[in-house]
């Protein structure tokens, strides 16, 4: 088994309260299923919208990241899967896709010495 991160991008802020409640329940169900199948290494964390970006040798600090709503990373999860294909397959049921968002699936590099 290898480890992967799911980076969730995009947030839909235009849903009605009723829709948000339904979306929430879908997320809960999705995580529960991942857990039940033994793929959930670490459910991860939501990320605040606002932050700082520190850049370059000058170490300039700017407020940010101020990406477009669809590009904002809203949270991450650590997944265990056989390979990248399976990890990507697992991400296909993520509720964020229904809201027009995306899941970035990245293998975590493990140093084998």
């Amino acid at each position: 088994m290898s480890q992967f991160t799911f980076l969730y991008r995009g947030r839909d802020t235009s849903q009605s309260p009723e829709q948000m409640q339904k979306t929430m329940q879908k997320w809960q169900a999705w995580f529960k299923e991942l857990g039940a199948k033994g793929h959930l290494k670490d459910i991860g964390h939501p990320l605040e919208n606002a932050g700082r970006v520190v850049r370059g040798k000058q170490k300039t600090v700017t407020d940010g990241p101020f990406a477009e709503a669809k590009d904002v990373v809203g949270g991450f999860t650590i997944i265990e899967a056989r390979d990248l294909d399976q990890a990507a397959e697992l991400s296909k049921d993520c509720p964020i896709l229904e809201a027009g968002g995306s899941v970035e699936v990245r293998p975590i590099q493990i140093l084998n010495i």
Binding site: R11, S16, P17, M20, Q21, M24, W27, F31
Partner: protein, 421 residues
């Protein structure tokens, strides 16, 4: 922890009411933004962390903190509720006063203030109901449009206009003045009655949508009953009426989603708990001298729900209630219902006579159930051809697919040709 059904939607209504009380009615949009923000946060955090022990408290606390942020940031840039602005100027009083305003009892009163504010005399009854659904029940524009089987654009336009009127009223309705309160109360009762009816008789074909509207009307009526000035006999009667009608909801549609009339309903499906609740409320409504239309409608509903089978219905009693109703609020639709009750009691021929005697029956010309009633009576008399003609007219006038389906079935029941009566 599982969320109770519609929790977000209902909390949205409570939060908007309270925040509007704090920000002032002219800042309704700001209140709505803060609430939306709180839900976005809840969604982000809860999907990872799970639903907290007390989700309502979590949401309210989040809204409260956002409100404090907003008040600090725009302390001078905006004008707030006049009485409050004084307190809001100083950091010493800001947090405690906001804390106080978020107390459970205050939130209840805030909902009442909002309910009364939505029933602004400058708004049509339809506009009032739409506004209540949107602001107080947390329905989005699309959800209101679905409830009324209307377009997004039409509802958005109506709501925007209504909110302008609301904002123009400068202040939320003050519920402490007994005279003002009593003067506005009938409009509030009427709006809740219409909201309930939209669910009960409305055009939406989706049973879930309809039941939701009835539930919301009942929830808001219950809120009225908790306030000493609003808990009048008429409010009790209104709540009774809602319970007794809602009790029949589970039987109103058959398994294929067709409307079933009172005569064919499976009475074992009626909700016994709601019937008991409605009868209790009806009893509580019988104080004082006030006999409202809600009293009479609730009384009629009580006769229906206490009949074990349709044959047991005390039609004479129902006819007499309709007659009293005609005296209080005369309308051709009530006259029609009276005629239908008379037909049940004394036969189709008498029913036909009564329908023909309705004085302003031309006002019923576009009402499909006027023609349907004529068809029904002709059918009972065995005049299949005449019945068919009436049902065809009714069908042409049907306002939504559900009515169309119902009338189509009645038309089919007429069969072909004239039977020997």
């Amino acid at each position: 922890m599982q969320l109770s059904e519609h929790l977000f939607r209902r909390e949205a209504g409570r939060m908007v009411a309270t925040l509007t009380r704090i920000f002032g009615v002219q800042n309704l949009a700001l209140a709505e933004d803060v609430v939306q923000d709180a839900f976005c946060r809840a969604l982000e955090v809860w999907k990872f962390r799970g639903v907290p022990e007390n989700p309502s408290a979590w949401l309210m606390a989040t809204a409260k903190n956002r409100a404090l942020d907003v008040l600090r940031r725009y302390r001078t840039a905006r004008t707030y509720e006049p009485e409050l602005s004084r307190w809001l100027q100083s950091e010493w009083t800001l947090a405690p006063i906001v804390e106080e305003l978020f107390a459970e009892n205050e939130i209840k009163d805030d909902q009442l203030r909002m309910m009364f504010s939505c029933c602004h005399p400058r708004l049509s009854e339809e506009a009032q109901v739409a506004l209540i659904l949107n602001v107080l029940c947390g329905f989005s524009v699309d959800e209101v449009a679905a409830a009324f089987v209307s377009s997004h654009a039409a509802i958005e336009k109506r709501l925007t206009r209504s909110k302008k009127v609301l904002a123009g009223s400068k202040k939320l309705f003050e519920i402490t003045d007994a005279n003002d309160f009593s003067a506005r109360l009938p409009a509030v009762q009427r709006a809740l009655y219409l909201l309930f009816n939209e669910g009960y008789h409305g055009a939406s074909q989706e049973a879930a949508v309809r039941a939701e509207l009835c539930e919301e009307a009942m929830r808001l009526a219950a809120l009225l009953l908790q306030h000493p000035l609003a808990a009048t006999p008429a409010t009790h009667a209104l709540s009774a009426l809602m319970c007794l009608d809602a009790a029949r909801l589970p039987a109103r549609m058959d398994s294929s989603g067709n409307l079933t009339s009172l005569f064919e309903q499976d009475r074992s499906l009626w909700d016994r708990r709601l019937i008991a609740e409605g009868m209790k409320l009806l009893e509580l409504s019988a104080t004082g001298f006030e006999l409202s239309e809600y009293h009479l409608e609730a009384a009629i509903a009580s006769v229906h729900v206490t009949a074990q089978q349709v044959e047991d219905t005390d039609w004479a009693q129902i006819v007499s209630y309709y007659e009293q109703l005609m005296a209080i609020r005369p309308s051709p639709v009530i006259a029609l219902n009276r005629a239908i009750a008379i037909a049940q009691h004394e036969g189709a021929l008498r029913g036909l006579d009564e329908i023909r005697a309705i004085s302003d029956s031309e006002r019923l010309a576009n009402y499909p159930f006027y023609h349907a009633a004529l068809g029904e009576f002709e059918l009972r008399k065995g005049n299949r051809r005449a019945a068919r003609d009436h049902f065809k007219v009714a069908l042409d006038l049907a306002r939504n697919p559900m009515e169309r389906q119902f009338l189509n079935l009645r038309l089919k029941a007429c069969g072909q040709g004239d039977a020997l009566a």
